[in-house]
């Protein structure tokens, strides 16, 4: 194994390695590649939106195509870019942070990724098969149930498959974090990123089933003639909105909590201080997650639920500002009195604070029901959620990428290009979205394909589009940076940032078994403790012994491929009988793979102690 790794391998061998890998570090790479690809696609869609809105009554794209583009922009960014990129960072960092050799279920980890990837591909296949979904990322019925063509069917099947992958990923991290922490790593000694991954996984576990149910109902209405949402047959359209947001609101926290963890680790590392108010940070995270499930109807203030429901959901929503505020001030206090290094990672984290504070502010403003009667479904809301999702999630992902890039790839991203990316993106972002608060209040509803002349909306939209070009430029520079660092990047040592947590105790990139001997954890920021006590490295918690490793497997890829094929079958059985072939054929592939997995014993293999000793030299 070690000899093979040292040699230059053929492209085919590398590809096969990635298709069959169950190593969390390689799955992290896959998530970054997949999520990155969809991020670029979603960004391209964003640029089409902004170019269309550069001037009043523009005819750059048609109304139908525009609806597809904004639907796919939202769906892609949330489900196929932000979440997978976060799952990528989790896979890269969490097992290392808690001192584990892998996740609890390596096979499921791979299955989760391939389900996401094939779900995302299925969804995007709609572009080539007569039109993408065009009912918005929320797919409100009856617009979605009555949408002609198969666009919405691709939405239903694609998200169902990708969602199953996310659910599997979430469960995997729950079990990993509960069961596989190194000796001495109690819950209250866990780095914040591991904590927020844990809480996020709980959110995934409870939120995604609501989406699954909603998607099934929509699927049955569209494909099998049921009438869950058909008012004329006794159905109810509001039910969809409830189901969607019971999933959809926690989803917002699924996107933001992991980056809260990233920022916590980053601020403490680059201020050379332990996190201020660690316990409060943990409980604030739990509280935000809990309240996240209690506030879904604030997306529905204008539905007509009545003043009692509206008031209760308004107050519950405002309450979330309290734990979030605690976090912001604790981060500031972490830096207070510290010795702050400002590099690209820190720039993204520092840029996050004012941006996210503004997003949080407007969040409270939107929670004020009667004020929301004006904001709702306008560009004010578009501005608000981009401030939290871009200002929180995207900034967090960028901070996380720059932070863990050396650990993942053994090379440091270029600082000059990193700073150029940050500044252009940051300035472009505020240019694009700040003005949208005003556009919304000046009468611009969201999801408008054109805005009319002579309504006072021209200048704001023009500025917004100019900002979008700045952001696009920033992203391009980042891509150049990635390629540059792969070719000429500075090699990273085990601990390039003077880190505090376990991932910085092993080589960059880490050996495939992570820790030769599991480390003994003696407190919060274990590496920092060893450094301050003059040892600089971890004490092992066990004698050197054989390491048990899982075998690579092609089954997860095939299982997901089967569902991908079956997805087409479900969609087209409405029109063509031959599609049943795809439906049953695809399901058969998946089921046979599942059977193989169940019947064939796979005990993995051991790395003998002697080999590990040999490597130590």
């Amino acid at each position: 194994m070690s000899i093979a790794a040292a040699q230059k391998r053929s492209f085919g061998a590398v590809l096969w390695d990635y298709l069959t890998t169950v190593d969390h570090k390689k799955i992290a790479h896959l998530y970054l590649i997949g999520g990155g690809f969809f991020f670029l696609l979603g960004g391209l869609e964003a640029m089409i939106i902004r170019i269309q809105l550069i001037k009043p009554e523009n005819d750059f794209v048609s109304a139908g195509f525009y609806n597809e583009v904004f639907t796919m922009h939202g769906t892609t960014m949330i489900f196929l870019a932000a979440m997978p990129l976060l799952l990528g960072l989790m896979n890269a960092a969490v097992p290392l942070q808690i001192g584990a050799r892998d996740v609890a279920f390596p096979f499921l980890n791979s299955l989760g990724f391939w389900l996401f990837m094939f779900g995302g591909l299925l969804l995007n296949m709609s572009w080539f098969f007569g039109g993408a979904p065009d009912a918005g990322w929320t797919s409100y019925v009856p617009v979605s149930t009555t949408s002609p063509g198969h666009g919405v069917d691709f939405y239903v099947m694609g998200l169902q498959i990708a969602g199953a992958g996310t659910l599997i990923g979430g469960i995997n991290f729950l079990v990993t974090i509960i069961n596989m922490r190194a000796p001495g790593m109690t819950f209250m000694r866990m780095p914040l990123f591991s904590w927020t991954t844990f809480i996020t996984s709980v959110l995934i576990l409870f939120a995604f089933p609501a989406l699954t149910v909603g998607l099934f109902l929509l699927m049955f209405d569209r494909m099998f003639g049921t009438a869950f949402f058909d008012v004329s047959l006794g159905g109810n359209t509001i039910i969809w909105q409830h189901l969607f947001w019971i999933f959809g609101h926690p989803e917002v926290y699924i996107l933001i909590l992991p980056t809260f963890g990233i920022f916590s680790d980053v601020f403490s590392t680059f201020s050379k201080k332990r996190l201020f108010g660690y316990t409060a940070m943990v409980f604030a995270t739990i509280l935000i997650a809990f309240l996240g499930f209690m506030v879904w109807a604030h997306h529905m203030f204008t539905v007509g639920l009545g003043p009692v429901a509206n008031s209760l959901f308004a107050i519950a929503t405002m309450a979330i500002a309290v734990p979030t505020g605690i976090k912001i001030f604790n981060w500031l206090a972490t830096m207070w009195g510290g010795s702050i290094t400002i590099n690209t990672t820190m720039l993204w984290s520092l840029g996050f604070i004012p941006t996210f504070t503004i997003g949080g502010m407007t969040g409270v403003m939107v929670a004020s029901v009667v004020a929301d009667y004006q904001y709702h479904d306008t560009y004010f809301v578009v501005a608000h959620f981009h401030y939290v999702i871009v200002g929180g999630t995207v900034f967090g992902i960028m901070a996380g990428l720059h932070h863990w890039w050396p650990k993942m790839f053994g090379r440091i991203l270029n600082e000059t290009m990193g700073k150029l990316t940050f500044w252009t993106f940051f300035i472009g972002f505020h240019l694009t979205f700040f003005i949208q608060h005003f556009l919304g209040l000046m009468g611009m509803p969201r999801r408008y394909w054109v805005f009319l002349e002579n309504q006072g909306l021209d200048l704001g939209n023009l500025i917004s589009t100019i900002g979008a070009f700045f952001m696009a430029f920033g992203v391009i520079v980042f891509m150049i940076n990635v390629v540059y660092s792969a070719v000429k990047g500075e090699k990273a040592g085990a601990d390039p940032w003077d880190g505090r947590t376990l991932e910085w105790t092993i080589a960059s990139p880490p050996p495939f078994y992570n820790f030769k001997q599991t480390p003994l954890v003696r407190g919060l920021d274990p590496l920092w403790i060893e450094k301050t006590e003059g040892k600089g490295k971890m004490t092992p918690a066990e004698p050197l012994g054989d390491i048990h490793m899982p075998n690579p497997t092609f089954l997860p890829f095939m299982m997901s491929l089967g569902l991908f094929v079956a997805g087409f079958g479900f969609i087209y059985q409405v029109n063509y009988d031959w599609a049943y072939g795809l439906l049953f054929g695809g399901m058969a592939i998946t089921l046979v793979c599942m059977l193989l997995r169940s019947l064939k014993d796979d005990h993995g293999y051991h790395i003998p102690k002697e080999e590990l000793e040999g490597k130590a030299k």
Binding site: I238, T302, S311, F329, Q374, H376, D377
Partner: protein, 350 residues
């Protein structure tokens, strides 16, 4: 001390108001220059919550700036190890309690206003209009008054008008920013809200809930006129004879063509209830064609010949026999003379 705080607040509020008003958009479309009951309630809360939240932002930014200036790593400090502080109960309690108080300042008036605007118990004593959302136009039925209009809704200024809203197809949202906030128009149930315009004027309304390809073109107008003018308008509308022959010969031909092509299968003139297409009783007085286009013969001819080019996804396309440009011109001539009242959007400018 108190006077000093007051002064700062006054200057701050004035500055904010100036900022908001200088860029507040078109005066009959913006939510930032309210001219009606609901919009005023919303605006008050927008300002209140903005002020409270800017206070929070200021607090964050002050600490942030100090941190960035004071605690950056300086030259020669490479080996400096700051004190590892665990936390501070007092500080953390302070930044838990202050936000709670600030939120209460917003929450209490929010709840009051929510209940106020949801109180529709007075609907029996006021005018009621049944609003129906359709892809992609609005229908207004003046309950008990035998008046049906589409796209343009006339109301008396300074009076509460109750809107009972339901959708004929998908979910829409009725939004009249300058007069009131929005409310969804669902196919499931009837939602009721009341509006009151403080000033005469033509207010621009929009559909705010995504409803299909022409969502962004689903505009309507609410025309607030004086009570006398409104009474006149009601009388005129009630006296409409849908079968009246137009004056000019061209328009008479147009009327014949209108009937021949079975336009009445979808549209109505007079007080017939909601149909597949908009009611055309006061078509000639409408401020805009199809809600968004300029009202002139040229546009109308284009609309009749190819509605798809002006409103993608509408239900008129392909549902009537093809008409020549000449025929369309005659129909247009007929429709444009449907002006049952002297009260027009022009009347709303006092």
């Amino acid at each position: 001390m108190k006077g000093w705080m007051g002064k700062i607040r006054a200057v701050f509020l004035l500055g904010l108001t100036a900022l908001v008003l200088s860029a507040c958009g078109r005066e009959n479309l913006t939510a930032l220059d309210p001219k009606g009951y609901g919009a005023q309630k919303s605006f008050d809360l927008i300002i209140l919550s903005t002020v409270v939240m800017l206070f929070v932002l200021a607090a964050v930014m002050v600490v942030y700036t100090i941190v960035l200036i004071k605690y950056r790593k300086k030259k020669g400090q490479e080996d400096y190890i700051p004190k590892q502080v665990e936390g501070n109960k007092t500080l953390e309690t302070i930044w838990t309690i202050i936000p709670i108080i600030l939120l209460l300042i917003i929450a209490v008036p929010t709840v009051t206003a929510t209940f106020d605007l949801a109180d529709t118990s007075g609907s029996d004593d006021h005018m009621n209009i049944q609003v129906t959302g359709n892809q992609y136009w609005w229908h207004f039925n003046y309950e008990g008054q035998e008046i049906q209009t589409s796209q343009d809704m006339y109301i008396p200024v300074g009076e509460k008008v109750y809107l009972n809203m339901k959708s004929a197809d998908v979910t829409h949202s009725f939004w009249l920013p300058t007069v009131t906030g929005k409310m969804d128009v669902n196919p499931d149930n009837e939602n009721t809200m009341y509006i009151e315009a403080y000033e005469e004027g033509v207010y621009w309304g929009k559909c705010a809930e995504f409803c299909g390809p022409a969502h962004s073109l689903m505009d309507f107008k609410v025309i607030a006129v004086s009570q006398d003018e409104f009474d006149q308008w009601v009388a005129d509308m009630q006296n409409v004879d849908p079968d009246a022959e137009p004056d000019s010969a061209v328009a008479q031909d147009g009327k014949a063509l209108f009937e021949e092509n079975n336009c009445m299968g979808c549209h109505a003139i007079g007080s017939s209830p909601v149909q597949v297409g908009p009611n055309l009783t006061d078509f000639g007085n409408r401020s805009k064609l199809a809600g968004t286009e300029e009202m002139n013969k040229e546009n109308l001819v284009q609309w009749i010949m190819d509605p798809e080019s002006m409103k993608p996804g509408n239900k008129m396309t392909g549902n009537y026999p093809e008409v020549s440009k000449d025929e369309a011109g005659k129909i247009a001539e007929y429709l444009l003379q449907l002006k049952p009242s002297e009260i027009t959007p022009e009347s709303a400018k006092d």
